[in-house]
Amino acid sequence: MSQIRVLSPIGVTAAHTASLPRLPGSLAGRTVGFIDNRKANFDRLADEIGAILSAEHGVKAVIRRRKANAATPAAPEILAGLAKDCDVVFAGSAD
């Protein structure tokens, strides 16, 4: 049977150099942030997680910031504020 050579349609993966610091070993005394994606119940979930982390893991403060809507990125000032004030940030995703 004859053969045919075809090119791949998959896009080219770009080279990146970014990296993230290691997660801390403990959240005691830390400030935890949440990016609220505005989907239903995320505010309640974040508040509940924050309460558990405060009660059981010694988290010092919990900050929750809401995006303008679920489908667009968080405003730069929200990201800058969380980056300045928080040690760990959780971003809500999905429904």
Binding site: G25, R38, N41, R44, A94
Partner: protein, 421 residues
């Protein structure tokens, strides 16, 4: 984020969260905290396998997988090979289709094998390594060569390649929000609207059945865009395209506007393409109205429903009205301009606050302050921010039908000229 070269730890909880009662939310919070505990001190961007191993032990992951029917895998292809490089396969139609399906390189339909010779012919001398930018959701580079490979596969003629390139440039405009269009659970797909003489030159049909089959230009150019979104952007259903149901418009969605039958002329006279992140067309059936008011009342009523993502979510909402030529003539016969049509739909495609409170997106809508301030349950609220957010074109053949195409609120229509590459 892994596509950007950054691995992030992830906490996965039962889906969905929306609609759950307080005890269900509390259960999910506990699931999250248990996983967070496992990640602390053990995760760094260079050790993401730890995070994934933690996830594998979470019962919610298997529950998510069980939510899909048996017999269909949403997993990445199992082919043990470099999926980004050329492959040599048996030269039969059946073997080529099987190989492309196995690698998840196509939409499930037969393709034209993208040989180097065919891809070079598609490029017609354009530099294959030129990139139009990174395409979400996996942020792979949209090089001209990769666009050409997908255009060959779709069955496009080389003459249509500049149009495809212009459409990709338009989709990569930040205001189109391609990341949202690609990844959302909504059924949105980019609709290509071709303007100017190039539409006829490329065989992009604007007449009878223009949203349907039978026309190579519409079918293959629209399909090329979908293949690019799948293969370059990486929006595979159930993985990175999270559409709950998707739509047939995700196979191919391309029409031309019918300037010759438009009482108001074309939206763009010159060769251009508009990308509009839209739902499939909603039919407007009006066989009896003999006035602009009658037809536009039917249009406006078709545009509004509680389940529409447009309007009740509001932010950046747009409506596309595709008038059939007969409806357009009746409306223009009453002296209405295109701007009048936009104003009429803006003023009449509305629902009362009391209805909006019943469900849909109530409680998470992104409304301006003046709308939030309204307390009168009988107040009629608009779907789009302004009359200019109602786009009006003419397309189709004989008959008393038109279409409304709501967008997926967070995406704005973008037009680009079609020029030689």
């Amino acid at each position: 984020m892994r596509a950007l070269g950054i691995s992030l730890p992830m906490v996965a909880i039962e889906h969905p969260l929306g609609g759950e009662r307080p005890d269900g939310v509390a259960r999910r919070a506990r699931q999250a905290v248990d996983q967070i505990r496992g990640l602390l001190g053990r995760w760094s961007s260079g050790a993401s396998e730890i995070g994934r191993a933690e996830l594998a032990d979470v019962s919610t992951t298997s529950e998510i997988e069980r939510a899909e029917p048996a017999g269909v895998s949403l997993s990445p292809p199992s082919v043990e090979a470099d999926l980004t490089g050329p492959v040599t396969i048996p030269d039969t139609a059946e073997a080529v289709l099987a190989a492309f399906c196995e690698r998840q390189w196509c939409d499930g339909l037969p393709i034209v094998p993208p040989t180097e010779a065919r891809v070079l012919a598609m490029l017609a001398g354009a530099p294959g390594d030129r990139s139009l930018g990174a395409m979400p959701p996996l942020w792979r580079l949209a090089t001209l060569e990769k666009l050409a490979v997908n255009a060959v596969m779709a069955g496009c003629e080389p003459a249509g390649f500049p149009l495809i390139v212009a459409a990709v440039e338009a989709m990569l405009d930040p205001s189109f929000n391609l990341y949202g269009v690609q990844a959302t659970t909504h059924s949105v797909a980019p609709l290509l609207i071709v303007h100017g003489p190039i539409a006829a030159e490329l065989g992009v049909h604007s007449g009878s059945g223009c949203f349907g089959p039978g026309f190579r230009g519409n079918a293959t150019i629209g399909r090329a865009i979908r293949l690019i979104l799948l293969n370059v952007g990486g929006a595979w259903p159930g993985r990175h395209d999270m559409a709950t149901q998707g739509s047939p418009a995700k196979f191919s969605y391309c029409i031309a506007e019918r300037a010759d039958a438009s009482p108001w002329g074309a939206l763009h006279e010159d060769n251009a393409v508009t990308v509009f992140g839209g739902e499939p067309p909603h039919n407007v059936n009006d066989h009896v109205s003999t006035t602009a008011a009658g037809i536009l009342a039917t249009v406006a009523d078709t545009a509004v429903s509680l389940g529409s993502n447009v309007g009740w979510y509001f932010s950046q909402s747009q409506l596309l009205i595709v008038l059939g030529p007969e409806h357009a003539q009746t409306i223009a016969g009453d002296g209405l301009s295109r701007a009048d049509v936009q104003r009429f739909v803006f003023e009449n495609a509305r629902l009362p606050l009391r209805l909006l409170k019943l469900g849909g997106m109530w409680g998470i809508q992104d409304w301006p302050r003046w709308m939030h301030a309204i307390t009168d349950d009988d107040a009629l609220l608009p779907q789009v921010p302004s009359p200019e957010d109602v786009m009006v074109i003419v397309a189709g053949g004989p008959g008393k039908h038109s279409a409304v195409v709501p967008n997926c609120t967070f995406s704005r229509a973008v037009s680009r000229p079609v020029r030689p590459i």
